[in-house]
Structure formats: C-alpha cells, structure tokens
C-alpha cells in the first residue's frame, strides 16, 4: 500500500491519529472528508489503486457518501480529499447550508457522536443488523416476570441500554405483544416421537421424521428438544443415530440438542414398556460394551441407565467425560447406589417415580436424591417429571416439587401417538393403544409414555402444584437448559442468549413461537 498522502492543509489521518484525538478536540469534533472536484469514488475495497480504505465501515463519523450502508470500504486517494472539522450540532448543521457539508453528513439523523474514524472497522455488519423490539409484554427474566421490552438482534437477545448509550440507536421495528408473557422456549429432553413418527424405528429416512416432529412441536412452545430412543437392538442405534445430528432450530422446526438414549442398560424389573429381549448389561467390557451397542456417540446428549448394573461407575465416568449427561432411571437402585452414581457424574433422574423403587422411609431409593446430603458440593440433582395428570399423581408431583423445586424438569416423554387420535400405534418394538390422554402397552395396563404436549404439561404442573408462573415456566425452559449446561444460550432471556421464546397468554396457552427472533409458529386466532 502506498504511504498515505495528504492534500495541502489536510494533515491526513496518520498524522492526526497520534496528535489529534477526541480528548484534545472534544468528543464531537468529526472530520468530514469532501471529495475534490474531478476525483471519483472507487468502490474497490482496501488495496484499490493507490488507495487506502480508511473509511471502512458505514454510517459512522466522517463517512462521506450518503448511502454507504454496506461493509465495502470506499476508497479514495487521500490527496483528493479535503478535510473539514465540524461539530454535528443541529445549529451547526443547519448553518452549513447547501454544499458539501450537509449532504455528505448523510440524512442528518445518523448520530455523529464520538469519532471512531481513526480505527478501521471491518466488523460493522453486526451493528447494521436490524434491531427488533417486542413491546407491551412481560418477560421472564431473573426468576421474575418483568414488565420489560425484549430486544433482539441477529437472533440473540440484546441489551437495549448498551444499544442506547454505546451505539446510540433505537429499534428498527417494534412489535406489540398485546400484554402477553414472553417466556424462553420450552426444552423437551425426553420425547420418543410424535405425529406418527417413532424415533426408535430404523428407517432409511429418520431425518424427515425428526424434522416433522420438530416442526409440529413448535405449536406446543418447544424450541429445542432431545429425540429419545427407547431400548432397541444395536442395529437400530447404528442406523438411526447418525441420521439425527445436532441442529439449530428455525422456521423448519425446533432445534435438536442431541439424542437421549433411554436404555438398553436398564433393570429388567423396571423396564416398563421397553422390550425385554433387547436389554443389555455392560458387565463385561464396561464402556466398550456401550460403544459396541450404540456406535459413535457424537450425536448423543443424554443416556439413561440403571446404576445398580455392574461397572456402571466406569461407564458413568466415561460418558460424563465425553460431555454426555447421565441419567438414572428404569432402575431398582437404593439410595446409596444412586448417590454413588451421582458422585461418579450422573446429574439427572428419568421420569421421577416411574420405573424405580417407590419411596420408602428407610430407603428412599432414587427418589431420595432430591434431598440427599451426600451429593457433590455445589451440585444438585435434576429430575424429569411427566406432568400429564396420569403418570404422576398431583400429590406426588407436589411432594417432589416442594422437596426440590429448582431441580424439576418438565418432560413430555411423548410417544408417536402424540398428536394422533385414539387407536393403535407403534412405539419402539411394541404396539401401544391410545385412549384419550393416556397411552398403554397394547393389551396391558402398563403406561406407555405420555401424549400430553409440553404446554399442557406446563399448565397442569402450574395448576397441580400451585407454584408461581415463573417457576412453572422455568421448569420447562431454564432447568433443562441448566441440566445440559446450556443456560447461557438457551432457556433464558438474558442478554446474549438465543432469542428462542414463546408468547403465552395469562393462562399459559401458546400464542406464538419464535426461534432466533423469527416467528416460526402462530396460533390461528392471532393470525387474523
């Protein structure tokens, strides 16, 4: 690059950068570069013929040319530029009159505050992205419903105070939420399928089944989920797992956070609806048995196992070391075995009360983890609860909630029959029968997963426990995010988090669902 030249009387930026700064001249002095007659604009980017892209970055102080909104640097020879120092007060602007000053300052509405022209700003694209402001709403933030606006930019929640004072910008678009509640999008960490799709069925095109479910659960307010596979033979895992990659959500559907593998390393007595033929143990080769069964674990997020199985501690430690969340379930473990499993790294309990030993006052079993004092310091256990009114008696729901409210994670444990009518459908390797809001293993009275959508679970939970709206919403959003270690990005509307949220009315019915600040589903009534 040729050294910077300057026209007579014009010091040129390099000469200025050291000597002249905002501090000396005062914050509002900004240079206006006016083009001398005969010079043309070369839109060539840095390194254009003899030019130096000093004015990279649009819109900021000193930028000549009204429509410089794009990131391309306007290149000019410095010798062709004359600089005039102006202060952008309205009085000054109006007195400049026609001529180079006014037009080149742009529309006059853009702030020309602290001059930043001395630094080359390549990354201004983010700052140019439109800012969306959701008004007339209550947002769930900091465990409370606040009467605040939600600001979104580029798919993330934005800090409006920072925008106001640092960037000196207002929102580009405002959307009135009609007094609704904006809660973080729900996260379902246990869902076996739905709308006729069974995640545990090894088809050639598992992806489209996952996509269908992902799209349909948007109407339940779910913005992220963990497709769940029940106990299946190894061939199924080897075929299905690679077809369910982690994926961001969007208009196409909720995001896939990773697969939840429920089984086959579970207890025979507590297998519930899982097929007995495919249960396995890892006594022989511990973690290698696990790998042999599942195949590569890249897409796996949660594994449910029974800790009383031999060598479970090695397996739990190996899984946890890979960032996989280990959950205890379908087990006859006593409290001590469960505590040891937590000490090895387990962090979750799969559908509390179901498929485990009942609470006993001399050995509370896995349920006792909720109030155990032998957990690693600073950690508490999370536990899934199916709050559909069937799988757990409301009194039991209340006991668990009161014992340990911060660990409660609402899950649907939904089966493929979710969203379909009454009748017979497939779940894993078995047939199930749907009757109203309940699904049974065909021909028996064993419950076979739930068909209550997530928003129904949230409402039922709220009504059954009498807890606050904030806690009910957090149980479906913040707590699962905390379980998976995602609480900075998901399950929250704090600044910087992904703008995945649901618009709910006061009775917690879903009116609209947003992912990354984009409307991905809207209730019929709201569409008019």
């Amino acid at each position: 690059m040729e050294p910077l030249s300057s026209s007579p009387g014009c010091p040129g930026p390099r000469a200025l950068s050291g000597a002249v700064s905002n501090k000396v001249l005062g914050c509002d002095w900004t240079p206006v570069w006016t083009a001398c007659v005969g010079s043309g604009w070369g839109r060539g980017g840095v390194g254009g013929r003899g030019g130096h892209g000093i004015l990279a970055g649009p819109g900021r102080a000193g930028h000549v040319g009204g429509r410089s909104r794009g990131p391309a640097a306007h290149v000019m020879r410095l010798s062709q530029l004359r600089v005039t120092w102006v202060r952008p007060s309205s009085a000054v602007r109006s007195r400049r009159g026609a001529g180079s000053g006014l037009g080149l300052l742009g529309s006059g509405r853009r702030p020309l505050g602290r001059a930043r022209w001395l630094t080359m700003r390549g990354g201004q694209d983010g700052a140019r992205a439109p800012v969306l402001q959701f008004t007339n709403c209550r947002i769930l933030r900091g465990q409370a419903l606040l009467r605040e606006d939600l600001w979104v930019r580029e798919g993330r929640v934005l800090d409006p105070e920072k925008l106001f004072f640092e960037e000196r910008r207002v929102a580009d678009e405002r959307r009135d939420c009609g007094g609704c509640i904006l809660a973080p999008g729900f996260i379902d960490v246990q869902i076996n399928g739905g709308f006729g799709v069974d995640f545990s069925q090894a088809t050639e095109d598992v992806g489209s089944g996952v996509a269908l479910v992902a799209q349909r659960i948007l109407s339940h307010g779910v913005t992220s989920f963990c497709p769940t596979l029940v106990t299946s033979p190894p061939e199924v895992y080897h075929k299905v797992l690679p077809q369910i990659p982690v994926k961001s959500g969007g208009p196409h559907g909720a995001g896939v956070l990773g697969v939840h593998l429920e089984g086959p390393f579970i207890s025979r007595e507590k297998r519930g609806a899982h097929p007995e033929a495919h249960l396995r143990s890892f006594e022989t080769n511990a973690f290698h048995d696990v790998l042999a069964t599942y195949g590569p674990l890249d897409n796996v997020r949660i594994v449910t196992l029974a800790p009383e199985l031999g060598r479970s501690h090695e397996v739990i430690q190996a899984l946890t070391a890979r960032g996989i969340c280990v959950s205890l379930g379908h087990s006859v473990a006593n409290l001590q075995a469960a505590e040891e499993a937590v000490q090895s790294g387990a962090t979750f309990i799969t559908h509390l009360f179901n498929a485990m030993l009942p609470f006993h006052h001399r050995d509370p079993g896995i349920v006792g983890l909720l109030t155990s004092d032998r957990l690693p310091p600073g950690r508490h256990i999370f536990y899934g609860m199916i709050a559909d009114g069937t799988h757990t008696n409301p009194a039991a729901l209340r006991i668990a909630h009161r014992a340990h409210p911060q660990g409660l994670v609402l899950v649907t444990d939904a089966v493929p029959a979710l969203g379909l009518g009454n009748g017979r459908h497939t779940l894993g390797q078995q047939e199930v029968e749907v009757d109203g809001l309940t699904a049974y293993v065909a021909g028996t009275k064993t419950l076979s997963g739930s068909i209550a959508p997530m928003d129904v679970c949230v409402r039922h939970f709220l009504q059954a426990t009498g807890c606050s709206v904030e806690l009910a919403l957090e149980a479906a959003s913040l707590h699962p995010a905390q379980l998976l270690g995602l609480e900075k990005r998901k399950g929250t509307l704090d600044f910087g988090a992904d703008a995945d949220f649901v618009m709910l009315d006061d009775s917690l019915h879903v009116r609209a669902t947003y992912i990354s600040g984009e409307l991905v589903w809207q209730a019929e009534a709201a569409r008019q």
Binding site: K23, G26, C27, P111, K162, F165, R169, V170
Partner: protein
C-alpha cells in the same frame, strides 16, 4: 423565585412534570430548535419522570426534539452497573419515551481524561445553545448536583470528591455498604447551572427541610450551594409540605397564597399532537383551590 408548595410528594411530582411539559410545548421545538433540558437523578425526581412518561405515552408530549443533559455521574462505576446514573436514566426515563439516543448527554465517569470529559460536556451544552430549563434536586446538606458545601459558586463542570454526608445518603443504593459507594463524581458546576435560562429545583421530604430553609431564607453561601439560585433570574422551587417544616410560617403562607397564580403555569396547553381548541374543557386539578 417561585416557591410552589403542594400537599404531597405525588402532587409535587405532578406539578413539576406539568410545568416541564408546558415549557416544552410552549417552546415548540423542532428540528432546527431543540429544547435543552437538564435532568437530575435520585429518588426525588422519580415521580416526576413517571408523570412525564405518562404524558409521552398519551401523546401529549414528545421528546423527539428535546436534548437532555444530566447533572452528574459517578466516577469509576461501570456504565451498566445498576446504580450508575446511566442505568438510572435508562430505566426510569429514556427507555419509556421517544427521545433519540444521540440527544441524550450524560457525563462519562470512566473517561480516560476526566477533566477533558468535563470540558467537553460544557462545550456540548454551549453547542446546543445553552440549557433552557435545568431540573435539579437538593441534598440534605444543601448541595445542588454534587456541588458539596464549599464548592465555588461560579464553578464549572469538574471532578468532585463526595462529602461523607452524601456518601451516607447514597449508601442505601449500595446495600448499605459504605465501601461500595463511589467517592468521586463528575458534576456540573454551580456556575454551569446558573447559566441555564431557567432552573427548577424539586425538594420533597422532611429530611430536606433544613436545606430548603438555608437555601431560601438565609443568604447566599457556598456552604449551601443551592442558595446561589437566589441570584438567578428565573428559579422555581417545587416542594411538598414536609419540606417546608423549617420555613417561617410567614414564608409558607405567602407562597401558598400565590398558588392561584402559579397554578396557571401548569394549565393544560394544546398538546403537541392536538391543535384543536379545547379551552372550554375544564382542566383536572389534582388539588382543590
């Protein structure tokens, strides 16, 4: 000076807000003519801000062509700290109204060169054509902004070390922990405030009563810097009953007697969005005559 005495804090806040509203509307600001408003922080003006927000939301008042200059800011406190004056202004005022961000000016307590920051602030005020109306509060020690006792009455914007009194008064915003309260602040000077074309001081609460007495019934003294406004041509003191507890009965009765006249200053004018005559409509009075 005009001393406006209302019964309660809420009425005093409302009166002050109406006065500001009327001043802005009468000024009729536009893109070539901005209304420059000086603003305070603290607990006293919160009620006034709430009312102004209400008028803005009703459409009676627009801040589109209003420029604001705040009085002060702590030194060393991060801008997004919940107790910084930036946060205060954002949460209590700016985020609810239609003011443009570039028209707000608050001193930056984290500037590399504090004195230069202060000088630049003075320059900004000058460039904006001076302050049309500066609204302020008063400290229990009679200070205006952070011009603590002993501050020169012709001072300009500068760095000030806070008096113990002020630190104690502010400790309640920092969980009562004295070590957390900033000890220095940038503040507009008494001279800067005197340059404003009009000054309005809000004084509510019994704990301010003695300061009010010193400010208006005693002489001009740098120990009670608010007293400097005795020499300002247009000052309005808005207070509630409790703040007058240390004044002479004669003073209070005199100014209460003038309320009939002073209340005309807050009669509703044509709102900015409505231009039709509605003079015959009886205006609502929050207090009986």
């Amino acid at each position: 000076m005009k001393l406006i005495i209302l019964d309660h804090y809420s009425q005093a806040s409302e009166w002050a807000a109406k006065y500001i509203r009327n001043r802005i509307i009468q000024f009729n600001p536009g893109p070539d003519k901005y209304f420059t408003l000086g603003l305070p922080t603290g607990s006293t003006p919160i009620g006034c801000y709430k009312k102004l927000i209400e008028y803005c939301k009703n459409g009676d008042l627009s801040f589109k062509y209003v420029k604001t200059f705040n009085m002060d800011e702590y030194v060393g406190l991060p801008r997004d700290h919940p107790e910084s004056y930036h946060s205060f202004m954002w949460n209590h005022f700016f985020k609810h109204i239609d003011i443009r961000p570039e028209n707000t000016h608050i001193l930056d307590g984290n500037a590399a060169d504090l004195q230069a920051e202060c000088d630049a602030f003075e320059e900004k005020i000058r460039a904006a054509g001076g302050i049309e109306l500066f609204v302020g509060g008063i400290g229990p020690d009679g200070h205006i902004a952070f011009n603590e006792p002993g501050s020169s009455l012709v001072s300009r914007t500068r760095v000030k070390t806070l008096a113990m009194d002020t630190i104690l008064a502010n400790a309640r915003f920092f969980d009562g922990d004295l070590t957390k309260v900033p000890t220095m602040a940038l503040t507009v000077g008494v001279g800067t405030l005197m340059d404003a074309r009009e000054v309005m001081i809000l004084i509510t609460g019994a704990h301010k009563a003695f300061a009010l007495y010193k400010a208006i019934e005693e002489g001009v003294s740098h120990m009670w810097t608010v007293s400097a406004f005795q020499q300002h041509p247009r000052t309005v003191f808005v207070c509630d009953e409790d703040a007058t507890l240390e004044l002479k009965v004669k003073t209070v009765k005199y100014f209460k007697g003038l309320m009939l006249v002073h209340n005309k200053l807050v009669d509703p004018l044509y709102s900015i969005k409505e231009k039709e005559t509605e003079k015959n409509q009886p205006s609502e009075k929050p207090y009986g005559d």
